[in-house]
Every structure is written in structure tokens, then in C-alpha cells.
């Protein structure tokens, strides 16, 4: 409603399309094209091939896919449990102490990932806990970086649940655990799904901390992609990037499907 004339609208839309196209769509398209290209000199790629994807399937690259998936799922689950637990515990407290603690749980998202990686490297290369060179340290790094987002999501969801539900449940005879299981958690389920999805996406793309702490046997996709492109093997890198994007989007889509089926039933 800012622009009324047909020509004006067209001009604005073309401008928007240009912006979106150049900034967002072109990069995606280009990587997609490169992943199928034999070589690329000049404006267009040439030599259509599946070779890069085949290579992505076996050997080191295949292991990287597994490592990223495993890390993503485990770290996201832990982050979801921890974040939801903290959100529930703080919500029933209220008051100044709860607010301060709440901010504390957000701080890990503010600290740069490389510094988190460095701190874990330093802390767990010495007594009392020696985790240097294990896969556990990678899980911990991802967990620390993404737990704040689960906490934020679940807190936001809990704030929108009317206290009526839990009060009536309590009055009818539900003990706190029963109430949590049968009333509170189902009511925030969409936020739990969203939190898991976001955590997983962040974990899949995490590079800064991982590159500081990863053991040789546990190479995640971002680290593998960097290794490829650093050597100049940019086409394989592109293919592996597309694999990463595809896996992430596939899981997000699956989560959204499950979540919407649930909300359909109750909200219509």
C-alpha cells in the first residue's frame, strides 16, 4: 500500500527480485551447479557429473556425514533436555534471582565459538578431567554452543501457556510430575520441536569450536568441507556442502511435519 501505480509496483518488485536473487538465490544455485560440474572456467560450468556425489558417499566424506549427524542429534537432544529443564525450573521460581540465572543461560550463545573451543581444549587437557582427543569433547562443544537456543525457545513457549491449565490439573489431583508429563510438556511440544530443529541446524553448521577440538577420527562435515576447499578441491567441497544442506533441511522438514500433525489435532 505504499506504492499504488502498476509501473511503480513492478519497479519495486523487480528491485526486490534482483536483491533476493543476487544475495540469496545465486549463491545456492551456484553451489548446486558446481556440485555437478566437471570444471568451471568462465561463465558457465561444464562437464556434468555425479562423481563428486559418489565421492561424498564413501570414505572420509561418508564418515563426515555420519559424524555430523551423530553429533547433531546427540548434542541437540542434550541441549533440549538441559534447556527445557532449566526453563521449567526457572519459571516456577520467578523473581530477581530467576531473571539473573536466566540471563546466565543465554551467555554461551554470545561467546565466540572459537573461544569456547579454546576454553574446552585448555580445560580438558589437564586434570581432573582428560577429554583431549576424544569425541566427547566435540559433543560438549556443540552442547555448550546450542543450549542457549533451546532454553530461549522453551522459555518463550512456557510463557505462553496459561497458568489455568496447570492450576486446574493440580486441583483435580495431578502431582507435579504427572502434571509436567500430561499437561505442561504436551502444551509446549511445538516449541520443543522448534528448539530441537534449530539446535540441530546450528550444530550441523558449527565450525569455530569444532575445528579447535576435533580428534582425527571424528571429522564433521564443515571441517571436511574446509579441508577440501583449502586443498583447492572446490567441486567436491560444493557437493559435500549440498549434502549438508540437504540433510539439515530434510530433518527440519520432518520435524515440522511431525509438529504440525500434533498441533492439527488440538488446534485445527
Amino acid at each position: 500500500m505504499l506504492v499504488w501505480s502498476r509501473s511503480g509496483k513492478l519497479a519495486v518488485w523487480s528491485f526486490a527480485a534482483l536483491l533476493v536473487g543476487i544475495v540469496f538465490l545465486a549463491p545456492l544455485a551456484v553451489i548446486l551447479a558446481a556440485s555437478f560440474a566437471g570444471q568451471w572456467n568462465g561463465v558457465l560450468p561444464s562437464g556434468f557429473t555425479f562423481e563428486h556425489y559418489r565421492q561424498a558417499g564413501d570414505g572420509a566424506s561418508g564418515e563426515a556425514v555420519f559424524a555430523s549427524l551423530a553429533t547433531g542429534v546427540v548434542a541437540s537432544l542434550l541441549a533440549l533436555i538441559s534447556g527445557a529443564w532449566a526453563a521449567l525450573a526457572l519459571r516456577s521460581q520467578g523473581g530477581g534471582a530467576a531473571r539473573t540465572l536466566g540471563v546466565l543461560f543465554f551467555v554461551p550463545s554470545a561467546v565466540p565459538s572459537v573461544s569456547v573451543g579454546l576454553s574446552l581444549l585448555v580445560a580438558f587437557s589437564q586434570k581432573p578431567l582428560l577429554l583431549n582427543g576424544t569425541t566427547a569433547i566435540v559433543f560438549i562443544a556443540h552442547f555448550v554452543l546450542i543450549s542457549a537456543f533451546s532454553f530461549g525457545n522453551v522459555s518463550a513457549g512456557l510463557a505462553r501457556v496459561s497458568p489455568d491449565f496447570e492450576e486446574v490439573a493440580s486441583c483435580l489431583g495431578a502431582t507435579p510430575f504427572y502434571r509436567l508429563r500430561r499437561v505442561t510438556l504436551p502444551l509446549v511440544a511445538p516449541y520443543l520441536f522448534a528448539a530441537f530443529g534449530l539446535s540441530f541446524a546450528l550444530s550441523m553448521g558449527e565450525l569455530g569450536a569444532t575445528v579447535m577440538v576435533y580428534p582425527p577420527g571424528w571429522v564433521t562435515l564443515p571441517v571436511a568441507i574446509f579441508g577440501l576447499t583449502d586443498r583447492g578441491d572446490i567441486f567436491s567441497g560444493a557437493a559435500l556442502t549440498i549434502v549438508l544442506v540437504a540433510v539439515t533441511l530434510a530433518l527440519l522438514l520432518a520435524l515440522e511435519r511431525i509438529s504440525s500433525v500434533q498441533t492439527q489435532a488440538r488446534n485445527g
Binding site: 492450576e167 493440580s170 486441583c171 483435580l172 488440538r266
Partner: protein
Amino acid sequence: MSLAAFVDEAAIASGAAELRGAASTVAFDRVSVAYRGAVVLKPLTLEVAAGEILAMIGPSGSGKTTALRAVAGFVRPASGRIRIGGADVTDLPPYARGLAMVVQNYALFPHMRVFDNVAFGLHARRAPKALVEARVAEALSVVGMAPYVRRYPRELSGGQQQRVAIARALAVRPKVLLLDEPLSALDAQIRRSMVEEIARLHGELPDLTVLYVTHDQSEALTLADRIAILKDGALSAVGRTGDLYRRPPNRFSAEFLGRANLLSVVVESDADASGFVAVRAGDERLVVPGADDRVGATRLLCVRPQNLTLAPDGAHSNRLVGTLREIHWQGELTHLVAQVGDALLRVVATRLPTIPARGERLEMFFAPADASLIAEDADV
């Protein structure tokens, strides 16, 4: 549907003794509640008899909801004890008190069907499956929602949801049923039919003690056996509905429970054998019920608008004279406002033989028994 089956569960499960909710009393014993330093409920002492409906009414901030939440256990009293069925429950958590609650926004669990909603309290208290099914079926048929057992709350209208919420509360046979403004979220028309529903329910379940909080005095007048009027965190008046309405003890209850005309009068004679005194209002001499009123005392005469009539007959022997200021016809009723001395009197008439004009001299009549006297400073 047999109410006897609803009441008798011995044939269904022997181990469900704790679910046999007998009518219980509720007692507030000097219960006070504070919130962030401010007193929200001043020490309240009040008893609810077994099987009665007590309505707690009052304006916003009167403390009525706080008192209800104290019984439920959501609010911890700063002082005093709460007893249900004689047992001190003040230290018990809400889920251990054997109560049930219906709230303004229904709070039906959206992720459960009607059946699971109604069965919720029973499942939470670990009732055996057979008992659950029987109770749910009975509760739903008592509120007339049996065909909707497999629906989700979102598929029901407001009135239907509230019925399911009531069924959910009834299914656990609570010692006391708590109702927190249950009809406030409903349309006026649905509200009227729901009030009648609740009255019918209470008739069919004489064992049910009900604590009913509302700001709507007409709901209280229809449903309650006794009414407690709260104001600014304290009890202003309490008594049987009829008594409270016909003989309000103070100005606030006179004006809050129904509408009242209040006229300043002076007592002229001692009480006679049948308990009437003579009072003077301006030039008029009126005969009204009175007992402890000594000669010369100033009182407020309270007479309800619908008890004033423009056509005299033997029974309406008291007369007031004024000037008609306003007249509004509203279909079922006609509202008139007349000026008598300094006061404005309201009259509600169902039938008017002639329509008086504004500015006319108006004579209004009422029967002695339809009025009462209030001591001006009797405001708690």
C-alpha cells in the same frame, strides 16, 4: 440414566474408597493473604455448610478470588487456617485436597479428547479403568455432553466446553466444587441457560458443596443458598440469599445485591407487637419493619425498585411523593426515575395503566414488608 448409579459405586470397585466424595464443609478460620507486602484478604472467618452453594460476590479487588484460591491451595495464607470437612488442609498441596475447579476460560486440555479431559482427575488419582469409564459416562450425561465424547475441545462451542469442564470436575466426586467466574466468558444468552443448568445440577446432586465466585449478582441470586459479599478484602455481609436481599445489613450490600433505593428517614415510634416502626421521610409517615431502632435515630430506608408501584391498593399502604424526571420503556419493563426531596428514586414497573409525563407529580406506593431499615454506619 440413573442418578442412583452415579452415586453408588460399590458395585464397580472396592478399592476406590478415597474417590467417594462426601459433601464437606469449608471453614475459613481468620484467613488472611498478603501479596508483595499489601494485604489482599483481611482475616476472614466464614463457614460453608455441607451440600450448600455459597456465592462469594464483590467488585474487582474485593478478595473473593483470593479466598477461593486459598481454599484450592494456590495461595498460601499469611495467617489463619483452612479446614475442609473439619480437617486442616492449610499445609496440603492443591493436588492432595480432594477438590475440583472450573475456571472462566474452561482450561480444557487442547491435546486431549473430551473423554480424556473428563477422565483426567480420575487418571491422576489412579482410579481403576472400569470406574473411570463409568464415571466419565455418568458425568457427561449429567451435563448433556455424552455424544461429544470423542471430540477435541477446539470443535466445541464456549458453552459446550464449559459443560465438559463441569463434567471433568464432577467426575472426581470432589469434596468441594470450586467455581471461579465460570460463566463470565460466555455470551449473555448462553449464560442465562447455563445458570439454569447449574441450578438443575445442584438439585440433582444435593451432596455437592459448591463455592461460587462471581461479580454478577444475578447469578448469585439465582443459584446461591447463601451469599457472602466482600469489599476491599473484607467480608461486608453474609447470610441466606432471601434474607440478604430483603433485609440488607448495610448500604454496600443493599446496593451491590440488586438495585436499591436509599432514603434518609428518622424513626418516630418504638417497635410495635408485630415488629414495625413508624418513620418520617420528609412529609410522609411510613410504616416499615424495625426492631432495634430507637426513636430519633436516623436510618436509611431501603426499598427495591420493583416493589414500588404507581397504583395504590390496600397492601401498598406506604406512600412517597415526588416529581418524575425520566421514563424509559424497555419492552418487558418500564424504568422511571423520580425525585423525592434530595434523593432520586428508581421504579421498575411491568404494567402502567397511564404513561406519566416528565415533570409530573408522581405518587409511589409500597408495602411495609417490602422495605427495610439500614443503620447508616453499618458498613463493615
